[in-house]
Structure formats: C-alpha cells, structure tokens
Amino acid sequence: MKSYISATVFSQRETVGGHFLIVLKVPSSFKESLPGQFVMVRVKSCNHPFLSRPFSIYSVYSHGKNTFLEILYKVVGKGTEVFSRLREGDILNILGPLGKGFDLPSECDKIVLIAGGVGIAPLSFLAEYCEKDSNHAEIICYMGAGNLEALVGMDRINGICSVVKISTDDGSWGHPGSVTELFGRDMELYLGNDSRIYSCGPNPMLRSLHQLLRDQHVACQVSLEERMACGIGACLGCVVKTKSDGLVRVCKEGPVFDINSIEFSDHNG
C-alpha cells in the first residue's frame, strides 16, 4: 500500500532570487522515482494553504541509510510562499512519486533539454539519471529565463551537460531573447533519429516550441504544469486538451506528454 507520509525538512536555501531548493528526508521507497514524476506536498496540520501542491522531483539520492528528495521551486503564490519559510526539522506531508515520467532515451541518443526558468527541475533530474548510464554520448541543455538573476539550477546542469546554452529575455546573459529562438537556431543538429528532445517551462514557451517543431519528425516530450487537488487521478481538476483523446489528466496520463499530442490553447499556452 502507498500512503501519505510525513517528511522532515533537512535543509532549505534560496538559490537565486525567489527560487528555493528544499531537501526532504523521505522513506526509501522514493528511490524508485523516475525523471518527470512529481510529488504532492502539504504542510502538516495546516489548512492554509489547504490543498497539497504538485512539484517536479529535482533529485533523489541516498546517503548512508537515509533517502533525500530535492524540490527546486519558484515562489509564485500562497502555497510556495508558505513553503519558502519552512526550516530544518519542519514536517511536511507528501504523496508520491506520482504520474508518468519521461520516456527514457535509448542508447546513443543525443539528449536535448530545453528549459524555461524553474522548468529546469525535472530536466536536471533526467540529465542526472542519463549521466549514470554511460552509453549516452551527449546531453545538451538550452536554458532560458527572464534575466540573469532568474537562471536557476545552472550549476548542477553545467556539471552534467556537455554544452549549456543560455538565453535571457533582457539580454543580461547569453542570447537576448527566448530559449525557443536559441534552440531554433541549432535545431537542424537535432532532427535525426538519434536525438530526443525534452522540455519543461511556462506554457507560452511550450506553445512556441510546439510551433517550431510542428512539421519536424523529431521526438519531443514536455512536462506540463496544472493546478491539482489530488494528484492521483480522482478530482479531474488538472485536465489538458489533447488532439486525439480530449481532456486528459495531467497527474495520471502525464505530466509528461508528447508535444504533438497537446492542443495548445490560450489557457494552456
């Protein structure tokens, strides 16, 4: 039986402005987490915020007898604001790992990651996971953010990828403009059967990536974000419109989808 469990905050720090890295001590069952999966998190015995919040898993690792789970997040509202004030020893309730993660690349694939802001979190976990498998030749990451201060998770991804290319909307670092534009300039390099593209970021970014790749025969998986109440497929609150299956649950059928299966609209991007 799975259950809603208590997890202790091991540490928390602000990495770049408004972005936090929280490390939780979790049961060893979390070691089975796959890149792209998520957890539902709630402050124990607290009705404010009321609902659990979904977060992508940034990393899971063991140290001695303990298992640790990392979440990298941006403060965007009431829930994340409360989380950002948690300190070592505070107790959270968490549920997971949940959802369907990324289809992992096979041998010899060129792995291309396209991240917008804190969307780097699940992609970084994927990169870590693939790095352990020495058969993979190359992991390339395109990272975008509003400005230099909002480039989150860069140190870790720099240590894993052979190439990291940066864009900022205000031009304060790297290519001035969007990460989709930056990737678009190199796209020809990744249109072979040996490339797999993975992306996570704000919906407008995913929509422009979708437009860019629409007529290309290249595999691209995206991790979507949506408001959720339960995270386990019951509330039907987190649905997204797909081209062939109508409205499907992000928590259960996703959060990772083939980019071509999603019907991008005003709401979802």
């Binding site: 039986m1 709630r42 609902l51 829930g79 497929g233 019951a234 709401h267």
Partner: protein
Amino acid sequence: MKLKMGVDIGGLALKNPIITASGTFGYGEEYSDYFDLNRLGAIVVKGLSLKPREGNPPPRIIETASGMLNAIGLQNVGVRAFIDEKLPWLRGTNSPVVANIFGETIEDYVNVVEILNDAEGVAAVEVNISCPNVKRGGIAFGSDPILAGEITRAVKNASRLPVIVKLTPNVTDITEIARATEAAGADALSLINTITGMSVDIEKRIPHLENVTGGLSGPAIKPVAIRMVWEVVNAVSIPVIGVGGIMNARDAIEFLIVGAKAVQVGTANFINPGIAVDIVDDMRKYMTEKGISDINNLIGTLKI
C-alpha cells in the same frame, strides 16, 4: 468493548457510517493503492450520465480559504462504460457501491436508472439534483420543490434499488426540497452538495475558473452543512447522510450528533487519500472513550 458501527440507510446496510463522496473518489480504483476499500461503509462513484461527458474546459479548480472551488462539469465515462469498464473491478470489493446519477432531463435520469437496474454490483443510486456546474439539469431540478419531487418520483418508480437524493444548499429553504423529495418516495437524502462560489484573479481581472462560477467544498462549508443537516433531520423522517467539509472523525461525529445516520467524506480524500479509513479508526476510538457500544446510540443525540 465490542463496537457496533453498522447503520441502515433506507434499506442499504452499511458496516460503518463512513462513505466516500461522489466526484472525490473516482471509480474507487484510483484509491485502491492507498487503503483497503472493504473498510468503507460505502463508495459513491463519480456522477454518471447516459452519454459520456467531457466536462468543462480548464482551469477547473482553485483553492480558497479552507476549501476549494471546482467546476469539473460532470466529466464521466457514461453509464454503459461504467458498467463495462469500472464496475467489474468494483465488484471485487465488499463495500456497497452507490451510483451517483445525473441527467439533463427527467428521461435521462430514468434511462440511467433503468440501465443500472440490470447491473450486478450496484447497491443504491444517489440522484444528483444539485450540481452547480452544468448549464442544464442538476441544480435546476434541485432548487424547485415541484421539479425535485417529480424527478424523485420518476427515478423511484424506475429503480429496483434504494434511492438517495442529493440536495443542494443553494436554496432559500432546504427543508422544503427535503419534504418534497421525501413525499415523492426518496429512501434517503444526502446533503449538502457544494455551495456556488466565485473567485477572481486580480492581476488579470478574470475569474479563476473558466466556468466563471464553481462549487465550494472543504472545511469552509462545514458549519453550513451541519446547520442544514440539522434542519432537514428535523423536517423529514427518512435517513439523512451528512456531507460537507469533513476532514477528521470529530467533524464526522458532529454530523452524527445532529442526526445524520451516515456521512460522506469528499474533498479530504484529495488531501490524504487514506483519510476515510483514518476516520473509521478514530471514530472507533471516540466510541471506546465515550463508552458508546452502538453508533446508533450517538446519532441524533444533540442536546439543545
């Protein structure tokens, strides 16, 4: 002390008074990884309509103070797919399965009931005349005593199963609707469904929900639910199932004390998927502590 937790709801025998509420428990299977469903008093499945429904476009939910608004719009697989694809799995549990049903016309409701009559493994029907999130049907039936009576009578005449009618709080006098449905033959009542509400994004100046309005649930609505259950218990003689904001055994016990014979746990399932059995366990503890050997001796014991 041997504890008796069984209750009878209009001919439906429950091993304990804890039921999972429609729309918060999927078709049961979603929760089977988290606890043994056999421990529930009953399971009410997601509202079923004659034809599958896609529901409302997203965003469909938003958190509010001690609660949430939803406007799912009765997304469901339809009654036939329920029977073919979901019910066989549910037959593996020994907790009674209650089919929540919904329609846009009285004929729709009757058709759904007739299809369910032939299905093995359904113990009762719960008639949803209280959904606030659909344009036709639902709440339109539940806020008019004459229509509520008509639909109850039609479903009751068509059904071989006990009929529970789920009432909306979005009315001036809920006892009027309760009496009308009792007079029309309802075997039991469940209340309350969600309270219509609205929430606005002040940055974009748009509603948080695509449907504009939604149904409020969670602890925020519990005092309203307790009050309405108390009013209805005093107005009718059929069993009443209390629903609204139950987060723990204490909340559930409040409903029993004001006279509900059973309760439904809803939004709390979203937060902790194992909560319903925690409530069963904690209710047992309360009974032991208070020396209550039969749960029926607790029901309706409010002192005023």
